[in-house]
Amino acid sequence: MTVIRTCELSKSFRHTHAVVKLNLEISEGSIFALVGPNGAGKTTAIKTLMNILRPSAGTAEVLGTDSRRLGPAEFAQIGYVSENQELPLWMTVDYFMSYLKPFYPDWDNAWAEELLRQLDLPRGRRLRDLSRGMRIKAALASSLAYHPKLIVLDEPFSGLDSLVRDELIEALLDRCAGATVMISSHDLAEIETFASHIGYLDGGCLHFSEEMTSLATRFREIEITFDEPPALPAPWPQAWFSPTKSAAVLRFVDSQFHADSTPEEIRRTFPSARAVAVNPMALRAIFVSLAKSGHKAA
């Protein structure tokens, strides 16, 4: 079942096109990471999905409902946490939780207690007196206590120290089995550890959206050693990008790596190659390469 589906979804602010014809599908149970540089349109896309902003064009469905019609029934099944969310700072953590409880038919007291304990939240302290990380944790606890079917997290780790990040991720993974998670982040190292699917958004455009395993499989850094400085072939294959030469070594990123066919293609393209090294890439390296290449190879 598809939990989120968008069709040509666009959002513009006067002359700025924040999201451009976004086509996206997120399946039930997946942990979908929406990544991209700052200003890529991630937050706008999420806010449009959550009916915080109205789309300029196109449509989006969330839990089978048009995003523009998301109402209390749908929000009772959605947990949304954003880095820049304005919380009722005058409330204590305890009152915040007890205030929200009647809004949710599926609120689980025991679970809420467990979340507060696990996240080590000071119950009697006002939200205004909490650190930024603690506030995010309070928002997360209040968004998980009713077993939401869909959890949407917009840059939840931004500006947090690694210890808090680990706690949040742990809470998320431990407590959200079965839920669909959509998380936007530019913290690629963290995302890599738990996301099942990933989408890359830049300039408002979605450059790809696929399973993490597929992404990890198809991106490779290729390092070819020659006896003497090589000449680059023309035309240069579209799937190979970010080529760099240093003396007799040529490096590039292959975005369509196949263990069976790619080595053969390299040998055919570079018959004078003395040695070819194929290195797996971390998510961060992939996105740095994509960003530098202008995403043409994605």
């Binding site: 915080i52 902003l53 929000f75 820049n84 304005e86 005058w90 009647p102 809004f103």
Partner: protein
């Protein structure tokens, strides 16, 4: 309803100190206003001062509380935590409305009843005013502020928007765009009532739109349109339209065929060089209205005329800007544009006048002895007399505390001596309450002392019917009537 009460409970908890302060101010106001004396009294002067101060402060406190409760779930913006929580907009709007009803309107109603009771009035006798008061109060004082709060993110932004609005009005006034001065009598209340109706429809639409869909851009456009429409009504509403509307609202069987309109040149004022005012040249026309049925009198609500120029074309309309002759309303001041005046001042011209009148009747007379004590006057309120503070040997002042509104037309005279008459409020409100914070208004009349007089005599009259009359006056030379 459960969600409404839940949100209300949260708002009460958040604003408990603000609520306590506002309720305390309201209670102090009720106590002080309830102990006001109709006449000047050193013992109650301090109470009077506090009540008058609180009349200025309380609206600010209510506006603050209204804005704070609405900003608790701020509507513009995209970062509020509550917009992705299962709030029903009807519950949220209901909670805010309930909060305002419970902590602003209800205390005010209780305060009104306390003030009325302390002043010797029985609230049960004034149910129309008590029932009408929350509506007038909400439309005039609360709803516009609530709508503005729906369009802003905090008090500071709201205050800036308000100041920008005031600045815009000042700038418009500098360019000569301001409410007209040609409105008289109850017609002005019709204009105000229409203006409030526009405001009511506008702010309710904005609030429902904001709470149901948070479309702040569209709501702000609507707010601008509402302000524009309100200004159109306030500045440019044709007075003849207001009169026609007012006439429809009155269902009277009074025969008015005997009432005429008569140009009375014999009452012309002695000629003198005219004054050039910013509005133009005042032309004082002596006009009488013979034929009023016995026990009835008429008040002119408005008058407009035009001259038939030498070329046969009508002039720009002349509008009545004042009534002079306190005793018998003998002169009606029309203001002529200076260039028109200079062009035709010595030419005999035909003038066509349209006159709108309200006929008053059902007189009720009450006596108030000149003994310095407070007396209850049916249909008016509580009244007391005292020598005028500044010129006690020359004048006597009659002070009254009047619940909700001053009667339509009030004539005051001594029981003996010449018929020196003072007029009360000539603006007959079609509604049971005036606009204001206090349910009890102060009114006073000052008359020259009369030897042998033992009492003031109050005559109040009620509006019965609105009449339109037209008259053609041949051979009018403006120079003969310019003053």
């Amino acid at each position: 309803m459960r969600q409404t009460l839940h949100i209300l409970g949260k708002d009460i908890r958040r604003l408990r100190y603000d609520i306590i302060v506002t309720l305390a101010l309201t209670a102090i106001f009720a106590w002080c206003a309830g102990h006001r004396s109709p006449r000047f009294d050193w013992q109650t002067a301090r109470m009077n001062e506090v009540a008058e101060l609180l009349e200025q402060l309380l609206p600010v406190a209510w506006w603050y509380l209204t804005a704070r409760v609405i900003h608790g779930e701020q509507l513009p913006g995209d970062r509020q935590f509550w917009v992705t929580r299962p709030y029903r907009w009807q519950s949220l709007l209901g909670a805010k409305g309930l909060f305002i009803a419970v902590f602003v309107i209800l205390p005010l109603l209780i305060s009104d009843c306390v003030v009325l009771r302390l002043q010797g009035f029985h609230p049960s006798d004034l149910l129309a005013g008590i029932a009408w008061y929350p509506l007038v109060f909400s439309v005039v004082f609360l709803l516009p502020v609530a709508a503005l709060a729906c369009l802003t993110v905090n008090i500071a932004q709201m205050a800036l928007t308000f100041l920008a609005g005031i600045a815009s009005l000042v700038i418009l006034a500098l360019f000569g765009i301001r409410p007209p001065t040609i409105w008289f009598g109850s017609l002005d209340r019709i204009r105000l009532s229409l203006l409030f109706l526009v405001v009511l429809i506008g702010v309710l639409t904005i609030m429902v739109l904001q709470y149901s869909s948070r479309r702040t851009g569209l709501s702000r456009i609507l707010a601008g349109a509402t302000v524009g429409l309100a200004m159109m009504v306030g500045f440019f509403l044709p007075w003849t339209f207001a009169f026609a509307l007012q006439s429809r609202l009155v269902n009277s069987r009074v025969d008015t065929t005997s009432i005429g309109v008569q140009f009375q040149p014999e009452h012309r004022l002695p000629a003198r060089a005219p004054e050039y005012t910013s509005a133009g040249i005042p032309i004082k026309l002596p006009i009488g209205f013979p034929g009023a049925p016995p026990g009835m009198t008429q008040i002119v609500d408005g008058m407009a005329g035009e001259l038939v120029l030498p070329d046969g074309k009508p002039s720009e309309p002349l509008h009545m800007t004042a009534i002079e002759g306190m005793k018998d309303n003998r002169w009606y001041v029309m203001t002529a544009e200076p260039s028109l005046y200079e062009r035709v001042k010595n030419t005999p011209l035909r003038m066509h006048l349209i006159v709108l009148l309200t006929l008053y009747g059902n007189p009720r007379t009450e006596r108030i002895p000149l003994d310095g004590n407070s007396h209850r006057v049916p249909g008016i309120g509580v009244c007391a007399t005292e020598p005028s503070i500044l010129e006690p040997e020359k004048f006597t002042t009659l002070h009254c505390l009047v619940p909700f509104r001053v009667p339509g037309r009030t004539l005051v005279q001594f029981d003996k001596g010449p018929q020196m008459t003072g007029y009360g409020e000539m603006l007959n409100s079609p509604w049971p309450t005036s606009i204001g914070i206090s349910p009890v208004n102060k009114a006073y009349w000052r008359l020259p002392n009369q030897d042998g007089a033992t009492a003031f005599v109050f005559t109040t009259m009620q509006p019965l019917v609105h009449i339109r009359r037209e008259i053609d006056i041949p051979n009018v030379r403006l120079a003969d009537y310019a003053y």
